[in-house]
Every structure is written in structure tokens, then in C-alpha cells.
């Protein structure tokens, strides 16, 4: 019975997974949370900055003058 390769592989995989969970450079999946490339324009701050401008634009563009 060649159990050794089997055990070895399982060990390796397990250790990789464990170290991954502890590493800072790894992205963990979290439901509903996007962790890809960040979009600076998508930030709260950016949205806050332009919200006034967008509001007046909507009023100017869509309300019947």
C-alpha cells in the first residue's frame, strides 16, 4: 500500500490552506464583498464629494422646466 504519497499530499494541502488563512497577502472570500482591483471612484468619500453635483444635475436634467 503506497500510503505515503497520499498522506504527504494531504499534509501539504492542509498546511498550505492553514498558512493561507493566516497570511496578510491573501484575499479571503466573503459573501457579497468584492475584493478585486479597487476602484478609487467607488469609495464613500468620492461618492460623498460628488453627490451634491449629481443631485443638481438630476434636477436640471429631468424635472420639467
Amino acid at each position: 500500500m503506497p500510503r505515503k504519497p497520499f498522506q504527504l499530499l494531504a499534509l501539504i494541502v492542509l498546511s498550505v490552506m492553514i498558512t493561507a488563512c493566516g497570511s496578510d497577502s491573501v484575499t479571503m472570500y466573503e459573501p457579497g464583498v468584492y475584493k478585486g482591483k479597487q476602484d478609487a471612484a467607488a469609495s464613500e468619500e468620492a461618492a460623498e464629494n460628488r453627490s451634491g453635483e449629481l443631485r443638481s444635475r438630476a434636477e436640471r436634467g429631468f424635472a420639467d422646466r
Partner: protein
């Protein structure tokens, strides 16, 4: 915090396709990809009504839920965007989206589709704002310039509204009151889960 929304006033939509070509114009979307389209119900019969359909930027977006590579994200304005670098063109978001918003430049044998493309609410994507990369991948970023999606801004009868949900709902409510009718908000609840 503003929450960006689209609202198509079916009583005003006259199926003129301006939203479709405005989008093509603004983002140079190629032939065959339609980020926005106009659908007519009861075409040619009394009761004919049309609505302009695109990504509704859902509160709980089904596309994001099923994406195998998790390439969707929601901006702080509530705009659902995606990362084309991650997209593998599997087609799942297209199956999941109730509105048929995701589009692919191709539809070939062996499931070759190219990267998914969809309405960005004219807010670009995860690249440097106004960079060439953002332009070629996602189109222009009007929101960052304080402007709203061109499809709505150019709507011939101001049927298609876009912007902060409060204002959009407000403008729409005023119209309903003038008309003395009841609201007919198409897709609003499906996408945003609340009343107009």
C-alpha cells in the same frame, strides 16, 4: 448617502431608441453589444407600452451572487460595476440577471463569449479615473464629472430618469400627481426592493 437608480416612466417612453444610441455614442459600444435596449409590450396593439432596459444596479445583485470569479462590486453610490480583468466570460451573470443586462461581444461555439460588458451607469470601472484603460474597457466616467448617464440625460421625452433615488422618486411622484394616476414603476421593486 446617494443611491443611484434608473427609472423608466413607461407612460412617457415612445420607443425612440435615443437611450440606445446615446450609450453607443458615449461609450463607443461595438455593433452587437447593447448595454441598453428598448422593449415594447403589445407592439402594434392598443395598450402598447415600452420601457428602456439596462442594468438596474440592483441592491442585491444576482449577477454578483453567481459570478464564479467574484468580479462584481458595488460602489458607494450603489452602482454595480465589474472588473473585466477578472471576468472569464462564463455567461452565468447573464443567466442570473432578471433584466438581461450582461452582454457579450460574441456568442461562439465552445462558449467563447469574450468579456462581459454591461451598463456602468456611466461610472467607468476599476481603473484609474479617465485613464485610457478605463475608457477602452468600460467607457467614459461621467459620474466622476458630476454628470449622469447620457441615455437618461438625452431621453427624448424625459421618460428615463437616472440619479439619486430620492430625487428620481421625487420627480416621478410629481408626475404621477399631475397625471392623477397610480405609479407604474417598471422594474423598480425587482431591482431595488422598495416602493417608488
Amino acid at each position: 448617502m446617494a443611491r443611484m437608480k434608473f427609472l423608466c416612466d413607461a407612460e412617457r417612453c415612445i420607443e425612440c431608441q435615443a437611450c440606445v444610441t446615446a450609450c453607443k455614442n458615449e461609450h463607443e459600444v461595438p455593433w452587437g453589444v447593447n448595454r441598453r435596449r428598448v422593449i415594447v409590450m403589445n407592439d402594434g396593439k392598443p395598450g402598447e407600452k415600452a420601457v428602456s432596459v439596462a442594468c438596474m444596479h440592483c441592491t442585491d445583485a444576482p449577477c454578483a451572487a453567481v459570478c464564479p470569479v467574484d468580479c462584481f462590486y458595488t460602489t458607494a453610490d450603489g452602482i454595480v460595476l465589474h472588473d473585466k480583468d477578472l471576468c472569464i466570460g462564463c455567461g452565468y451573470c447573464f443567466y442570473a440577471c432578471p433584466f438581461g443586462a450582461p452582454q457579450y461581444p460574441q456568442q461562439s461555439a465552445f462558449g467563447v463569449r469574450g468579456k462581459m460588458d454591461k451598463c456602468t451607469f456611466c461610472a467607468g470601472g476599476p481603473e484609474e479615473v479617465h485613464s485610457q484603460a478605463e475608457l477602452t474597457k468600460y467607457g467614459t466616467n461621467r459620474v466622476e464629472e458630476g454628470k449622469l448617464p447620457l441615455c437618461a440625460e438625452m431621453c427624448s421625452t424625459k421618460a428615463l430618469l437616472a440619479g439619486d433615488g430620492d430625487i428620481v422618486a421625487d420627480i416621478y411622484r410629481k408626475r404621477i400627481m399631475t397625471r392623477g394616476g397610480r405609479p407604474q414603476t417598471w422594474g423598480w421593486q425587482a431591482a431595488y426592493g422598495q416602493d417608488a
